[in-house]
Symmetry: C2
């Protein structure tokens, strides 16, 4: 069982990376929300690491930002923590 | 709204890539299931593209296979389909 802190840190890292891509593309929450089928407040929650995002939501974010799934996971996360 | 066929093809591509990594590591469903907190039948469903996988399940798969999130998305998917 992976402990809650590690899960939370992964979700937060994902959210911060998403925020960095959104800002790089100079999009507000509402502008990104218009590009995809997600509510702007949901995007804000994802960026705060509060959402256990699904593959279908990843697709919407890929569409909204015009980036790949690998880009969405382009952040440092030590997988050895998972097996310690 | 992203159409259902595109969503299904993304989930299936994810599943096939997962299967390729599991076989590369010479793990059966049951052996992979023992390495992480997922049932072997659930892993089989994921590989068939039948599960809208979440980030927390990604973490379990990363743990079980000892690979990164980017490895789990190491497959070709044309993002232009999302905006066509």
């Amino acid at each position: 069982m992976i402990n809650g802190d590690i899960k939370n840190s992964f979700l937060l890292l994902f959210g911060k990376n998403l925020e960095a891509y959104r800002k790089k593309k100079k999009l507000s929450y509402r502008e990104l929300a218009q590009n995809c089928d997600l509510d702007h407040s949901y995007i804000s929650k994802i960026e705060k690491g509060e959402v256990n995002v699904t593959l279908e939501t990843l697709l919407e974010l890929m569409k909204g930002l015009n980036i790949s799934a690998k880009d969405l996971f382009d952040f440092d996360f030590d997988i050895n923590k998972l097996n310690s």
